[in-house]
């Protein structure tokens, strides 16, 4: 009988990971495309415009899943970093590294779509609202993590500093979110920017949840593809170093 940790270690073996992920990528990609197509059809054609927001409500179907994933990806990164730090599983490190740019992209998408929605709704591209500010800072944390990764050439040497940074960020994100909330309610009444629209109707909940599932699947596929590329990149690096040594 294998214990749970032994089973986990079996997947930490890069060769097994490559074999398993190679079989998974194509079917998951097809599934992602199908769910996204259905979700987008509902979001763009089959759902009614909002009675307050009009057609701009459709931005929300992209915005909300992106914002959700920006936090979800960071959690994945933090868990992977913790595993990399404690158990030294190489695949966990690869996972954290591969997830960071995807998370940064979702955070950026959430900021941009929010800004595009804010212009017609609030009359301004940007407000220093609590949520916007904390998402912006989350984006900075992603960029800092990627910058740290980029400056250390040896991927194995980068594992621990990057993991420590991701974990410190994970502790800090709630603190930052809370402090920004406090700051914002101090300076401007939150009621101005709170949209007290109707509670979400089912005609809007369907595309929203479908797209949330689609975005998550998309993240998983992208993560697998990027992890495979990173494993291959490390193999190439190890091989060329060995050849250089003669």
């Amino acid at each position: 009988m294998l214990t749970a940790s032994q089973r986990l270690q079996a997947f930490a073996n890069p060769t097994r990971f490559m074999a398993l992920s190679g079989r998974l990528v194509a079917p998951l990609g097809v599934l992602t495309a199908a769910v996204m197509a259905v979700g987008l059809y509902f979001a763009l054609f089959a759902s009614p415009p909002d009675y307050q927001q009009g057609e701009t409500v459709r931005i929300m179907y992209i915005h909300v899943p992106s914002a959700w994933l920006s936090l979800f990806v960071y959690s994945v990164m933090a868990v992977a970093s913790g595993v990399a730090l404690v158990f030294r599983h190489p695949i966990a490190d690869v996972c954290a590294k591969a997830a960071a740019p995807i998370g940064a992209a979702f955070t950026f998408l959430a900021l941009v779509t929010g800004s595009l929605w804010g212009e017609p709704m609030w009359g301004t591209w940007w407000v220093w609202d609590a949520r916007l500010t904390s998402v912006l800072i989350l984006f900075f944390i992603y960029l800092g993590y990627m910058a740290l990764r980029a400056t250390i050439d040896d991927p194995h040497a980068a594992t621990r500093p990057a993991a420590v940074l991701a974990l410190v960020g994970f502790v800090n994100v709630p603190i930052i979110h809370y402090s920004v909330n406090w700051w914002n309610t101090l300076h401007q009444p939150a009621s101005v920017f709170r949209i007290d629209g109707p509670t979400v109707a089912s005609s809007m909940l369907v595309p929203l949840m479908t797209l949330a599932v689609g975005f998550t699947l998309f993240f998983v596929v992208m993560l697998l593809v990027r992890m495979r590329a990173e494993v291959l990149r490390r193999r190439v690096r190890a091989m060329s170093l060995r050849r250089a040594e003669g």
Binding site: F140, L148, T151, P161, W182
Partner: protein, 225 residues
């Protein structure tokens, strides 16, 4: 162990005093930044009085970033850090001692200089006590959180800039609660609200006193291998 920590702190202080460059430069940078912002914003005294706490806090934050690079890098380059790591102290205690001496040589001088700069910015008299109090409570957090960034980038080329980029997002709560306490005094809010900001700031500092040394030690361990 207590003696070893005291010896390490005393060594860092002696280095700061005799080798120069650390705290003095930070204070000079603080002065220059505040002056440049005042020149950029314009000589409108009532406007300056209103934004003075924010300017002072931001300038303080930037000045303390300036000296982060030196926190561990010199010791790693000349081998001191290897000797320290082999000594009786755990790396966590070393990181804490070095962060504390960073506060003594950077945070404390900046704190002393702040009232003078407040005068330049036409800061109202009644705002001085809460602002200085918030800086006294908040500046240790800048040193201890900064130690994380300094430790993570210790072996990296041009690590100073990278350390600043990594650390600034974590400084946001300190900045918010620090400026918040002074802003409450400006807007004439009851002291209770101000105390709330100060105690939240204290909570952030206490958390950083724990997280900082542990994370910095993990970063140093990676660099020493």
């Amino acid at each position: 162990m207590g003696r070893a920590i005291a010896a390490l702190i005393a060594r860092d202080l002696r280095l700061a005093v005799r080798a120069g460059g650390g705290g003095g430069m930070a204070v000079f940078f603080f002065l220059i930044t505040v002056s440049v912002v005042a020149v950029g914003v314009g000589p409108n005294l009532s406007l300056l009085a209103q934004i003075a706490p924010g300017i002072l806090w931001v300038a303080l934050l930037l000045s303390s970033l300036l000296t982060l690079e030196r926190l561990f890098q010199a010791d790693l380059e000349d081998g001191t850090l290897d000797l320290l790591a082999m000594g009786p102290l755990p790396l966590e205690a070393i990181a804490a001692a070095k962060a504390f001496s960073h506060w003594l040589t950077t945070g404390l001088p900046l704190l002393v200089a702040a009232p003078l700069l407040g005068l330049l910015l036409n800061l109202p008299v009644n705002v001085f006590p809460p602002l200085i109090l918030s800086m006294a409570i908040g500046t240790p957090a800048l040193s201890f959180l900064g130690a994380i960034g300094a430790a993570l980038t210790v072996g990296v080329r041009r690590g100073g800039l990278l350390a600043s980029l990594l650390v600034v997002p974590f400084y946001v709560p300190v900045l918010i609660f620090g400026v918040g306490a002074a802003d409450e005094a400006i807007s004439g809010a009851p002291p209770g609200v101000m105390l709330q900001a100060l105690s939240l700031l204290g909570a952030v500092t206490l958390a950083s006193l724990v997280i900082g040394p542990v994370a910095a030690a993990a970063g140093l361990r990676a660099a020493l291998k």
